[in-house]
Each structure stands twice: as structure tokens, then as C-alpha cells.
């Protein structure tokens, strides 16, 4: 008899009890914390005279506020320094391991967990950050929580949670040249809507997902929340195990790898598992997707026209009109040729090594357009170091990109990296909300990293598939 989906199995293994509210109390296998959403939770613990129950299953890093240019302490900005100091104090007091900037392991929390082997199949993983869904790429059940819930997890090692439905999204076929994982998830959100996933967890499956490396799977799971799904996951397979074997944790504990593999295999969704919904997407049909509006669901293929608001469902029309006004785009036109002022290569969606490698191949031997400010912000210090060793930093810098230190940076503009005025940004990040990148008049166009590289070169939204012969400006 079927034991169900990965979601069912991981849930059952972590369920402590059913609470009087009907919610389940779930054990948390890994709690990741950072400087923005945790200080208030530690404050609540102090108020209640409580201690951290499972410090060894908790891991901290600093990412949201950290400057990516000058990281010498104290930070230029007092508020950033205060938040960092508070985190340092909290982790020291509680005995929580901290991937701080001096460790060489610091980075965006959703890059750090996977690269150290903390993220593993069959774990429940939470963090006070909505992009925690990223870790689902390893077959973990991972989701974002708020600060009061962080308090609960710190104090009890558990979380009160309601079970959701599971929608299987099968992406079958092969992605074409220039089409990436990012385009798959932007297409999914565009089709199912920004709230289509509310009440669901997404299971990504199908040959196009299986063909992806872990980084691509992370990009997809990362943006589950932009489609309303609090969590998304991919069943673990050989690709997952190959990644895990190389991580610190399993390099240091090789016996654990063999010991845990049967567990990882056991939590894969059964072939005859039942799903609450199944959606199929043809990978061969996809092209690079870019957003034209101010929600991640307002996307189109690069050769497609921007929709007339009237052609959309009634409840989407107002939002579309306002978005088109903000973005200054015309329905009927494509996004190609849309002027770009800033190119941002970074974020927990697309700042891992393969993302930077692919973008570097586009950039190599070319120059950033005179009117464009372009920056690369590696996802972690380790990504940064390897990229530098591989010569990627040189390629980007020679082309005119700024090469920064690791952090969330311009994805949400909590540090100095922000859009100014009504600048338009070609961005490899995950949210194009009004004001998201630090300026309320700023305009964000979401796209895959190679498309960002192409836009940096041409100064406008460009179909990267058309670029290779078109714009070589240097040796």
C-alpha cells in the first residue's frame, strides 16, 4: 500500500502530537537563523525566561543587512552594526554555530545550508525567511516562518502547523538553449498565479526537473513561495546524493552517508502516491521568461507581447493596469528593448557557482553598456572564493561589472545596494514588487542570470539566444 508522497512521509516522521487546535506539532530538524527576523524572537525568549532547546540543530549566518562592499567593522550603518552585534551576542549565549564573515562560510542562508551539508533529504527545515522553500530541492520539507514562530522553534524545537495539499508539477521534455530553471519557475507562477499555490506544497517532477543539477532545482524550489506555495520539493536522487557526498558534513562523517541513504530513499514519493492536483508543463515549449509587471506572476516569454489588461481575468486587470503604469510598458509590445539602468546578478535564487559561470560566458570579451551599473554579488563566501579561483571575477571586472562580497544585497535593498529613483533593473532575484529593490519608483525585471548578463551588455532587455553573434565589442 502506498505510504504517499515525500511530504506525507516526512510529516509523519516529524509529527510529535496533534495539538488542541487540530494543528500538528512538528519536530524541526534544522533551524536556520539570520540577523533580521531572529533578534525579536530571542528577546521574547528572554522575556519568558526560556532557553534555546536544540542549539545544535540551529545554525546562523548574516546576509540581509551585511554590506557587500566594505565589510570592516563597525559597519558604516549603525543599524546594521547593531543587528549584527545582537546576532553575535545571541548565538554566543545560546551556543549556536555561526557562519560569520570571518569563517569564510558566510553567505545567504539558503546558499550556506546546502553547501555545508546541513540541508539534507527528509529533514524539516525552517527559517524566518520565505525563501526557505529553496531547501526543498534536496527532498527536505522546508518553509519560511515568522518571528513568533521562530520563538516557538527556539524554545521547543517544534512548530505548530497544519498539513497542506500536494500539487505535483511535472515538467516533461528538454529545456532549449538559453532556457533555465528560472524560466521554468517563472512560467509555473505565471500559469498558476501568485496565489495558485496557497494551501499547497509543490512537488516538482518530470524529466526536465530530473535533468537539472542541484542549483537549478534550488532556483525552482526557491520561488515556490512567489506562486503562493509555502514549500516546494524535488524527490532526492543520485544528483542529490552526489552533491551531499561532497559537502563538509559528509566529508567529515563519511559513515553517515551510507547510514542515512536508506532513509533518504525511503522518503521518496511512492510511484502510486496520490496527489491533490497534477499539472503538466511541456519543457520544450519554454523560452526565456521575463516579467513585465510588479508581481512575479506577471511574466511573458521574451518573444511574446505584453498582455492587454482587458484580456486578463477580471480580478487581475486592475493590478495589471497599475503594474504597466509603474513599469511604463505598453501592452502589445514585447519586453525586448526595454531600457535597463542596473544589472543585478545575485540573490538566493541565482547566485550559485553555475549561475555565475553561465553568466560569465555571456560577459566574456564584452563590455557592460555605458549607461548600465552592473554588479555581481556571489551567494556565499565559498561561491565567491571558487569563482575567483576560476577567473570569473576577472571576466566580470574586465567587462565592467562590480564584484562584491556575499549577501542578499539588491534583492531587497536592506544594505547600501539599492536602486535610485526610477532606475530599471535587470535582476536575477525573485521579487519585482514595487519598492523591493530599495526605491519606490524603481522598476525590476526578473530574468535568468544569462539574460541579466545580456541586458548588462546591451543596456536593454535582450533575448540572450540572439546575442552571441550580435554584440561582441572587445577581444
Amino acid at each position: 500500500m502506498s505510504e504517499g508522497t515525500l511530504y506525507d512521509k516526512v510529516w509523519d516522521r516529524h509529527k510529535v502530537t496533534t495539538l488542541p487546535t487540530g494543528q500538528d506539532q512538528l519536530f524541526v530538524g534544522l533551524h536556520l537563523i539570520h540577523e533580521v527576523t531572529s533578534p525579536q524572537a530571542f528577546g521574547m525568549l528572554r522575556e519568558r525566561d526560556l532557553e534555546v532547546a536544540y542549539p545544535e540543530l540551529t545554525h546562523a549566518t548574516v546576509d540581509h543587512i551585511i554590506p557587500t562592499a566594505d565589510q570592516s567593522r563597525p559597519y558604516d550603518e549603525d543599524a546594521a552594526e547593531e543587528m549584527m552585534s545582537e546576532l553575535e551576542e545571541n548565538v554566543r549565549e545560546a551556543g549556536i554555530e555561526f557562519s560569520d564573515p570571518n569563517s569564510g562560510d558566510q553567505g545567504i542562508v539558503h546558499v550556506v545550508g546546502p553547501e555545508q551539508g546541513l540541508t539534507q533529504p527528509g529533514k524539516t527545515i525552517v527559517c524566518g525567511d520565505s525563501h526557505t522553500s529553496t531547501h526543498g530541492a534536496f527532498g527536505a520539507l522546508a518553509f519560511g516562518i515568522g518571528t513568533s514562530q521562530i520563538r516557538d522553534v527556539l524554545a521547543t524545537g517544534t512548530l505548530a502547523f497544519e498539513k497542506q495539499k500536494v500539487r505535483k508539477i511535472e515538467v516533461e521534455g528538454e529545456l532549449g538553449d538559453g532556457v533555465e530553471a528560472k524560466d521554468v519557475i517563472l512560467e509555473i507562477i505565471r500559469r498558476l498565479g501568485t496565489e495558485g499555490g496557497v494551501g499547497y506544497v509543490y512537488e516538482y517532477a518530470g524529466s526536465a526537473i530530473e535533468d537539472l543539477g542541484m542549483e537549478g532545482r534550488m532556483s525552482i524550489c526557491n520561488m515556490s513561495i512567489e506562486g503562493g506555495a509555502r514549500a516546494g520539493y524535488v524527490n532526492p536522487d543520485e544528483t542529490t546524493y552526489e552533491w551531499l557526498e561532497e559537502t563538509d558534513y559528509f566529508q567529515e562523517n563519511p559513515e553517515k552517508f551510507e547510514e542515512l541513504k536508506p532513509y533518504w530513499e525511503s522518503i521518496r514519493s511512492d510511484d502510486d502516491a496520490e496527489y491533490d492536483d497534477v499539472v503538466t508543463i511541456d519543457a520544450d515549449e519554454l523560452e526565456p521568461v521575463v516579467t513585465w509587471g510588479t508581481t512575479p506572476g506577471q511574466g511573458i516569454g521574451i518573444t511574446e507581447p505584453i498582455p492587454e489588461p482587458e484580456s486578463l481575468p477580471a480580478d487581475k486587470q486592475d493590478t495589471a493596469r497599475r503594474a504597466q503604469e509603474h513599469m511604463r510598458v505598453e501592452p502589445g509590445e514585447t519586453m525586448e528593448g526595454y531600457n535597463i539602468d542596473v544589472a543585478f546578478l545575485g540573490s538566493c535564487t541565482n547566485a550559485r557557482l553555475p549561475d555565475l559561470r553561465r553568466a560569465a560566458r555571456i560577459v566574456e570579451g564584452r563590455e557592460v553598456h555605458d549607461d548600465v551599473r552592473a554588479l555581481v554579488v556571489p551567494g556565499s563566501q565559498r561561491v565567491q572564493k571558487t569563482a575567483e579561483e576560476e577567473g570569473l571575477k576577472e571576466i566580470f571586472e574586465e567587462a565592467g561589472f562590480e564584484w562584491r562580497n556575499a549577501g542578499c544585497s539588491m534583492c531587497l535593498g536592506m544594505n547600501e545596494d539599492q536602486l535610485e529613483g526610477d532606475e530599471a533593473c535587470a535582476s536575477s532575484s525573485n521579487r519585482n514588487f514595487v519598492g523591493r529593490q530599495g526605491s519606490k519608483d524603481g522598476r525590476t525585471v526578473l530574468m535568468n542570470p544569462r539574460m541579466v548578463a545580456a541586458a548588462a551588455i546591451t543596456g536593454e532587455v535582450t533575448d540572450v539566444r540572439e546575442l552571441p553573434e550580435a554584440e561582441v565589442t572587445a577581444q
Binding site: G22, F27, R48, E56, S148, D152, G435, K440
Partner: protein, 213 residues
Amino acid sequence: MSGTDDVEIPEVDYVSGSGVPIRGNDIDTDQIIPARFMKVVTFDGLGEFAFFDLRFDEDDDQKDHPFNEERFQDSSVMVVNSNFGCGSSREHAPQALMRWGIDAIIGESFAEIFAGNCLALGIPTVTADNETIQALQDWVDENPDGELEIDVETETVSYGSETIDVTVDDAQRKALVDGVWDTTALMKSNAGAVRDTARELPYVESEAIPEAE
């Protein structure tokens, strides 16, 4: 170390107050509280920054927004449209709204993390269909001092001469009505069962599991 016993958790079975309509779908938490106001280590004082960029222009002059209108200054029930609170998980968003004066939200639909954060603060997020919500928003606009009564237990909202059916998620309703929406003490009381669950998980090393108190 059993300090949680002295935390008083009120029952939230009924909320009343005048309303404030916030129209539009997909209002994300970056709109509710822009990231630059999150560079703080407490939630105190966030109220004045609720919807800041929608309320003020670059010269800090007021723009048209219900939160700026004199007639809505005493409102405590927000009436919103669909997918309210999408995006970032920041609890700063409901914290800012609560500190501005919001005690309950009625809407077409809510993003999950946002609704969970509201519950953790004892703020009901109740839903009704598009037509019902629009009618309610119009009524609130015309009756800024009019009283809205949300009965969480019976899942109804009364205003003027109307009583409408709304939906409250089952777990949310039980948590609010029974006063168990702050789950820390409740879950801490199961610490033994938590350790048992941890011991059964192959990836949890025994050293990571605390001794019984």
C-alpha cells in the same frame, strides 16, 4: 525554567471596531512595511511605518491612502482583497499593522505565512468572496464610524443591518476562541514526546537531544 506559565493568552472570540478599506490584490509585505524600516532589533515603533511608501511621497508629503485619512484614524478592522500579505515572511508586517491599531482583518484571501504570523499575534484573518468584500469595503467607506462585529466562533460579521457569513480556518478558529494561539507553553509541555520523536529520526545525533529537565 518554566517561565511560560505566566504568559496570559487572551481568548479572541469576538472583535469589534470601525473599518478601514485597503483595496487591491497581491498587496505584499514589502508594501506593508518596506525593508528599510526593518533595521531594528525590536518591533516597537513600527506602527507609524505601516504602508509607508503608499502613504508618503519622497518629500514625506502625504499621499491618498486610507491610513492617512482622518476618518479612519480610529479604525481597527481592515478590509482587504485577495492574496493580502504575499511575499516576504516578515512578521514586521502584521506587527506594524497591529501597532497602527489593527485588531482583525477581513479579506478575500491571505498569503499563508502572513495569516500564520497574524494568528501568532492573536489577529483573526477571516475570508469572504469578492462580492461580499467589495460591498463591505463600500459600506466602510460610507460609514467610517460604523461598527463591524466579527464573531470568530460563529464565523459571521455584522455591520449596519447586515450579518454575513465569513470563513475562519478551523485551526485558527480553535486557537483564537480557546486562547491557545500562543503555542510556546503548550508545545513546551510536550518536551518529552519531542525528544522521543527526535530519537526516532536517523539524522538527529543523540548529542543534539537535550536531557530531560
